[in-house]
Structure formats: structure tokens, C-alpha cells
Symmetry: C2
């Protein structure tokens, strides 16, 4: 069988694949940094060259810059010659999604080896982007290499590949492309490897993501900055006002106080709750190693899974304005801003959630303060179906590779493009990731367990072979 | 009389004095800006040269830099030959204090003329430093010029002049000098012109200043910055914690909620309150032109004077930490800080007030958060005596010059050096300033009304003549 031959090829060539990945990881493709714009493009060109060499067609960079913004290119490639299946049905088309941009590497002094000089230590490859998402994206590419070689230049499925270079900065370019050229990404199923496993040796599919609204509340008081000596006692203070508002947004048990905010929140099914309870999860270990706080906070009587996967939350990310330097300046600033986001769960919608929030914030505006409540960006919450042939093929492939049953989890974060695939393209999406909770994604000493890299490649080969059969 | 001759000389030479002041105002002596360190020194040298030219002695720059910090020089000069008075008593010694450093001029685009190119418009001199404090300090210098010329090289009083170049950045250098070399500033009375008149044509003496404690509350939650998607719902958020704390520090009526905080607050006497009620003060005009907010805030049932002069207040000046750039980053920061200050009134003490505050803040610390409450700097509240010959001479001089009775006000802010003069040197201090409430001190288009400049010079001449008689 071509599948087994591809698996064998991948095993024989594992070291070569790691060396190629290292080459990619040496490119500091930091999408948020203007000084790295050339590096981001170089990473795109590296991926495009490899896809062309495999034998994929229509390989091209899709520019995303507009007069308003500097964009980073998308990489597109396809191979659409799988023909009819043995049963006479059209062959399955898989859309492989990944991103080749990375987060900044700061704080640099916390890295044990330089972030863009990948090293192998303790069975891990260590570099910025090792797990998010270059390493996982490279599993897709190498699985295609192995299948193509084993198939004598032919794949068991039709494949479209779309890679983006802006995932870490909002993904505006790919969102526009999906809106305007969605038909070019038409597929039966999308494969996204940008999530993690629940723990070592536990094959995991992510079947839900929280949505979000990211907002700013700008508070204005006096016309200009004032001196707190002369005017302290009569001038409204925008920071105090924001503090009063924030303290009324969420109670001390983590319950959001916006009227109507929970009206559309769907409780997980009892099957789902039972499955979450059965997950091999050690809360104390999680608190100590992942969060590192003295206690975990949030709504009493709910598990960590419920609180991070199935409940809306509110966080404050920064409060720009006033004086933030070292030492003292006695300014009552004319204005201050709070960056406030809320995570949403099915069936909440960003538009309605933002409207409820804005109405409430305006209703609790302190005296002497004028507010502007702005929506910066948003993403829909999603739950994907687990009842389809692609999911069944995935659990079967993972059973073969890992010798264990797949667990179904949700993710607390958002991958906005998944919402676009599901809602806009109506493409069932498989979130099959191979990262581990301690992989330090977005943090110093980011790593990817090499055993998971190789098992991920094998899983993808087996899955593609199965869905193409 | 030498006094009348000096007044006549000052009137005849008014334009020349303004031209000299313009020369000083052309020097961008911004003490907080490292790139202007040479300009600050140039301003010091300009003042020293003029004091020498008048005939003052021991003119020198006193360096204040230490291995730990870049300081700006003090300017010292004296003339101590007034001899015995006609009654055989030792002549009065006056300590003239002023500062030659200025605040930054930003935002530059709001200036109608460049901040360091002084212009005369509508009877005002407009420049950064016009009123705080170069223009007012220059009144002292020119009064001494006129008295020296009229006296044929002799002054009616002994004079010591001390000018600093760090008033806008905390005054560390002069504070150290007072501590270590206080005897060099020994005087019977200190004259400080760094305050303002209650309104045009209303001669004003400032007889009290609030003290302060300037603090930082640093809140720590998780060990490292976390992603709000993955950890929102379980990880403590330092900004939310700070908001909860700040909301509990002061109620919505401006009352500070720290237990025991008001225990030592002395209510103004009924005489003082009656005098404040009688001041020509239009609250609506003040709100609209000075504060520019929709309403004035603060404790109900108390006048603006009580709230800004005789009541403690709490303000937040900035909240550094987390993400403050444009757009969105979904970080739950590991730590965040609030810069919080409180103004104090007699008989509160900074040490006790800080202790009460710290105990209370620690007692309301939210779950999962660790706090560090730091005192950055502090100043004592003071009320100066109005029952002495220097005050009587001042009100008499101002009655002659302005044709109006002096009003006694307090100031809401702190001039820490005044506390040092009063407490450390035991020198009665006269805060006789000639600024106006709309002079835009520290703001764009700072101005000084030229009529007040000239009347201030005349007042100082008449006052020095009287206290020397």
C-alpha cells in the first residue's frame, strides 16, 4: 500500500525532515516587527520552493498589502489530480492550513540557546516557531513529500495548501482572501495543526474554540492634563473611573456582571462534561507548572476545563495613558484607556455581546467622565462536528500511531480562520495538533517534542490515505 | 526714599527687564530631558552672571550631581552688608528662592508660537517658563537690581539668593543642600514666588500647602505572561486586581475608604472657611475654563477650596504593564503597576498615612495576587503663620501696588522645599506669587501677564524696603 510505503519513507527520512525544519526556523519571520518584513517573505519563499519541489502546482505568493497596511504574503499551492475514487465518487479534497510567521522572541535573555538557532536537546527541537506553527506546518509538508514519493508522483487525495504569514498579528490578509477568493480554497475538509495534545501520549482533537471581542474603553475627564496638587479633589480621574468600571464588569468570583451576557451560553452536554471529567488532568500540576500562581481563580463549582473552554471570561490587557515612566509625575491625565477583551462561547455572538457590554459600560459611567467604547476585533466561537468520516479517520490513524484512544477537547483561544473555514467556506475542519502543554508557545525556549513531530507526520500520512481510499 | 527711587527705576527700565527675561526664556532649560543638560547649565550661568553684575557676592554654581544621578546646579549669591538698622538691631536677612528649570513643552503643535521664542501678545509674555518660574524668579532679580541702583550699591536688607534647576524633577539637589549646608541659607524670612493669585487684581498670599505620598502598587499573578485564550478563566489578572483595589480606595463621592485615614485631618477654622467663602470665586467659570470637565467631582457639601486645599485626595497617574500599543494583544500580564498618590493636609503625616494605606491595600488583596506597595516620595503638609511682620509688610506693599486687600489662600499642591525651609531651617516663608489661574503653567502657551510682572517687581521692592526699615 502506498500509505505504508509513505510511512516507511517518512521514517527513513526523519532526520532529513528535521534538518529542513531547522533551516526554516533559522529565518526570524516575526510578523509584527517592521524590520523583519524581508525575513517573513524569505520564510514564505522557503515554503513555496519546497511545495514546488514536491510536485505541487500553481505555487504562488499571494500579496496581501493594501494602501492602508503592510501585509505579508500567503503561500498557495495545489495538486488536484486524484481523480475518481474506486467507488466512482470524486476524490476527497483536503485543505492544509498553517502559518509560517512567529511571535517576537523577547525576553531574549531567558532563552537557553538563541531563538533562531535551532538546537536539539532532550528529544526536543528548540527555537521560536518550533511548535507554533512552523514545526506543525512542516508536518503537513513532509507528509505530502512522503505520499508523493510513495505514490510515484501522485497523492491519494486532492490537496490545496494555504499558508499565512500574519497569524500572529490578526490574520487580516487571509481573512480578506477567504472573503474575496473563497472558491480557490474549496475543499471537503480542512486540516489545521495549530493546537496541542492534552498531554504526552494522548492523541487529541480540538473540537471547539472560544470566540472573542477585543475592545478599548477610553475615558476622558478634564480638557487637558492637570496637576493633581491643584486639582486633586475636583477633577475627574480617568484611571479611577476605569477602575470603577472594571470592578463592576466582573465579580470577585469571575462572574461577568453585564446584564444578559450569559443568556445564549450553551452548557456543555453531559456527555461532554463526563468526557472532560475523565481526562487525565492534574489540576495542582497544571496550576504549578503552567500558570504558576498561588491559586487558580474563576467561577466556583466549575472545572478548569469548563472555565477555560465553555465559559465566557473577561480580561484586561493594558491601560495606556498618563505617566508610566520610572518615578513620579503628579498628572491627572485628561484621558486613559483600558484594553478589555472577553472570550465568548457558543451560542454567543460578537455583535450582540459587544452591544450588551457597551450599553452596560455606558450605564455605569462615573460622574464627570465621557466614554468611548470601541470594538477592535472579534471572532466567533465555534464547535465543530465530531460525527463525520474525517474525524473517524483521524481517531483511527491516531489509534494506530499512538496506540491510544483520541480525546476530544476544546480550546480556550481563538483561531479566527477556523471560524471563516467553518462559517464562510462551510468546510468541516479538523484541528489535529501535536504540541504539548509545556512547549512554551509564544514564550522563551519554545520547543516541539521530536517524537510528536514524527508521529504527527505518520498520523497525517495515514489519515490522508484513509480519507482518499 | 530709596524705596521710591527703586520703584521709579524699575518703572523706567521695565522694557529692559522684559528683554532680559526673554533672553533667559530662549534657553530650553528642560530639566527632565538628558539632551538639554547643557541648556539647563546655560540658564544657571545666565542667572549667575546677572546676579554678579548687580553686585551680589559669593556668586557660584553648586554642583548637585552624585555618582548615582545627573544633577543640575544650584545658583547661590548673597549680599550681607546691610549692617544694623536704625533701632540698632541686626538687619533683616531675606532668602530669595526660585527655579530656572522648566517642564517639557510638549505637545508642541498646540503652541501658537514656538515655546522657546518668547512673544508678547495681548499684554502677556508667552513662552515655556514665562510664569513657572523664570518670569517670577526674574522679578526677584530685577527688584534687587533696582534696589541696588537706587541704594548706590547698597540694599535695605541682607539677601541670599538660591536658585535651583531641578524643581520640575523633584528637587533632590536642593533638598540635599538644605540638609547638609542649611546654615548657608540662614535667613529671617524666605520669599518664594512660585504660586498664583486668586484672580486678576486680587493680591494673594499662599499660607498652606498640601503634603503628599506618591506610591506604586505592583500586582503579580501568574509566573509569566499568559495567553488569555488558553488561561482566561483561571489565571489571576493583575490589572483586574488593581482595578478592584482602586475601586475600594475611594468611594464614588471622593471619600477615601482607608480606615483611620481622616483621623488627624484638621478642619479649617471657621474664620478661614468664612474667608474662603468670601473669596471672589466663580465655580462655574472655574469648572469651564480651568478644569474643562462636564462636572466637578469630590466630596459633597464641601466647597472647591475645601476639597482642593483642606481635604486629602487620592489620584491614579498611570498603570504601566501589559500591552499598551495600538491594536490587540491578548496577554494576561504576569504583573502590572498602579501609580497612586494621596494629598495630605495638616496634621496628617506621610509616614502614618502610608502605613494605613499599605495595611488596607494588603487587606483587600484579591485571590491569587501578590502585592508590593512602595513609597516613591513624600512631602509634609504645611500651614504657615500669617501673624508676623513679614506678612503685614507684604499686605501693606500689595495694598499700595494693587489698591486692594490681600486674600489668603492655600495651595493644593506641594512645594517640597517650602516644607524644608519651614521645618528644617525654621525660616518663616512668604509665598507671594503673581501668576494667574489661566496662565497655562506646565501646558502649551504658558504665559505671564506683563502687568503682574511689573507689579510684582514693585511689590517686592516695597516689601524689601519695609522689612529693612
Amino acid at each position: 500500500m502506498a500509505g505504508e510505503a509513505a510511512v516507511a519513507f517518512a521514517k527513513d527520512n526523519g532526520e532529513r525532515f528535521v534538518e529542513e525544519l531547522k533551516e526554516l526556523l533559522r529565518i526570524p519571520s516575526i510578523s509584527t516587527a517592521p524590520e523583519h518584513v524581508g525575513d517573513v517573505r524569505r520564510a514564505a519563499e522557503f515554503c513555496a520552493a519546497e511545495l514546488g519541489q514536491i510536485g505541487l502546482e500553481h505555487v504562488r505568493l499571494v500579496e496581501t498589502s493594501t494602501p492602508e497596511r503592510q501585509g505579508h504574503p500567503l503561500v498557495y499551492a495545489d495538486w488536484l489530480h486524484a481523480g475518481l475514487g474506486p467507488d466512482g465518487k470524486a476524490a476527497t479534497t483536503v485543505l492544509c492550513y498553517g502559518h509560517y510567521d512567529v511571535q517576537p522572541a523577547e525576553p531574549l535573555d531567558e532563552w537557553k540557546s538563541p531563538p533562531f538557532e535551532p538546537e536539539i536537546r532532550d528529544g526536543n527541537i528548540i527555537a521560536r516557531g518550533a511548535v507554533v506553527d512552523n514545526g506543525q506546518m512542516w508536518m503537513h509538508v513532509t507528509a505530502l513529500v512522503a505520499l508523493m514519493v510513495a505514490g510515484g508522483g501522485s497523492l491519494p487525495v486532492n490537496v490545496r495548501v494555504i499558508l499565512e504569514g500574519e497569524e500572529e498579528v490578526g490574520g487580516e490578509g487571509i481573512a480578506a482572501f477567504v472573503r474575496e477568493h473563497g472558491e480557490e480554497l474549496k475543499a471537503d475538509v480542512a486540516l489545521v495543526s495549530d493546537t496541542e495534545m492534552l498531554g504526552p501520549g494522548i492523541p487529541t482533537l480540538c473540537v471547539g474554540l472560544r470566540g472573542m471581542i477585543y475592545t478599548e474603553i477610553e475615558a476622558r475627564g478634564a480638557r487637558t492634563d492637570l496637576h493633581s496638587g491643584m486639582y486633586g479633589g475636583v477633577a475627574p480621574n480617568p484611571f479611577v473611573a476605569l477602575a470603577q468600571i472594571i470592578a463592576k464588569l466582573k465579580d470577585e468570583d469571575g462572574k461577568i456582571l453585564i446584564p444578559g451576557f450569559y443568556d445564549r451560553v450553551q452548557a456543555p452536554t453531559s456527555d461532554e462534561l463526563n468526557a472532560w471529567d475523565a481526562l487525565p488532568f492534574d489540576e495542582e500540576h497544571y496550576r504549578e507548572t503552567e500558570v504558576g500562581s498561588t491559586v487558580l481563580t474563576g467561577e466556583p463549582g466549575m472545572s478548569v476545563m469548563e472555565r477555560t473552554w465553555a465559559r465566557p471570561t473577561m480580561d484586561v490587557h493594558g491601560m495606556p495613558g498618563g505617566f508610566t515612566g520610572a518615578g513620579a509625575k503628579t498628572v491627572i491625565p485628561a484621558r486613559a484607556t483600558a484594553k478589555v477583551s472577553m472570550r465568548l462561547v457558543p451560542d454567543m455572538t460578537p455583535a450582540e455581546s459587544f452591544a450588551l457590554y457597551k450599553t452596560y459600560v455606558d450605564s455605569i459611567c462615573p460622574r464627570g467622565i465621557q466614554l468611548e467604547v470601541r470594538l477592535i476585533h472579534s471572532g466567533d466561537p465555534i464547535v465543530v462536528s465530531t460525527d463525520n468520516e474525517y474525524v473517524r479517520a483521524a481517531t483511527a490513524a491516531m489509534r494506530t500511531v499512538f496506540g491510544a484512544e483520541t480525546v476530544f477537547v476544546r480550546g480556550g483561544g481563538s483561531i479566527p480562520i477556523v471560524g471563516d473555514f467553518v462559517r464562510h467556506l462551510k468546510t468541516p475542519t479538523l484541528m489535529m495538533g501535536f504540541g504539548l502543554p509545556d512547549d512554551n508557545l509564544h514564550a522563551p525556549n519554545e520547543k516541539f517534542h521530536l517524537d510528536n513531530f514524527h508521529k504527527g507526520i505518520e498520523t497525517i500520512i495515514r489519515w490522508m490515505t484513509a480519507v482518499g481510499a
